[in-house]
Symmetry: C2
Subunit: 154 residues, 2 copies
DNA sequence: GAATATCGGACTAAAGTGGTCCTCTATCTT
DNA sequence: AAGATAGAGGACCACTTTAGTCCGATATTC
């Protein structure tokens, strides 16, 4: 199954709660754990990662917590996933990557060079959606999504 | 890291070899293992899955093997990934899915309902690229990919 | 200086994945 | 008819990744 990690999932969820607050609001790990219903240790872990990734700013000490470093409209889902899960690359076999040097396929690989465009396509899809849009249930940045079309696999 | 499984990777690679051949060519597991440099048992496993998924047709018995059921132009990468890895869903929390019923977030989740559009975006990106395009190094269905631009993460 | 938060990292357990192997069935060749 | 070849199907194991927890240290406020 192609999917993002649960940590990235939590990350988006948590940032979503920040997005709902006024700009500079500080929220603590404890408070966010309650709001999100994610276990406190896990919430802390995710917050730490988000802070390290520069998406949140931490305020230490009593009455401390975290706050957004940017406006929700300027944070993309792709960015959050990168911070939590690392670079978005659908496969290891991509040009410029070290792995390619010991790729047994190299000269015969019929799809060599095409992974890049696939990765780009996914990255673009993920970067087209902002945190602000995620928290706003009516906005529709991607395409037609009018309520109730069926979702076939694929 | 967000990525597809190695099996899906192999699947695309193997189908790529079929795509290079004339339409009805039959290739055996042994032969494909040699061409792709993927270990024979693994090659077999992938081929079986591709056949079960309807992308390949098997010919049993001596001088048997597999052949494409469709033209490479009509097979999308998204389809291959679905066959190998299951449905493309970036998160478990999506409407219409059973998991949503016991989602502790439900009423408070700030991003509820927005996952769908994200999944759709990725599915579309993956379905826009066909097997034929993957094997043809010059075609460019997605966007600018002129040889050598650097790839920043994201 | 006591209480409250984050920081950083170690650690465990569970799940998923990659990969192999074995038995059975179908088909072709001789 | 018999033997050889090739796929079907599934069990199985090892390894990696991930989820999740916990602890000691540091910073800040009251």
């Amino acid at each position: 199954m192609i999917r993002i990690s649960k940590q990235a999932d939590y990350g988006i969820l948590i940032l979503g709660h920040f997005a709902k607050e006024a700009g500079e609001t500080i929220l603590s790990a404890r408070e966010l754990a309650e709001r999100t219903r994610v276990a406190p240790p896990m919430t802390s872990k995710v917050l730490k990662n988000l802070a390290r990734g520069g998406l949140l700013e931490s305020v230490r000490g009593m009455r401390g917590g975290y706050r957004l470093t940017r406006h929700p409209e300027d944070i993309t889902i792709g960015e959050i996933i990168v911070v939590m899960d690392g670079p978005i690359a659908v496969t290891e076999c991509a040009p410029d990557e070290p792995a390619v040097s010991d790729c047994a396929q190299e000269p015969w690989c019929p799809v060599r060079g095409s992974w890049q465009r696939l990765n780009d396509a996914i990255r673009e899809a993920l970067n087209r959606v902002t945190l602000a849009e995620m928290t706003c249930p009516v906005a529709d940045p991607v395409g037609s999504f009018a309520g109730h079309e069926d979702q076939a696999d694929v």
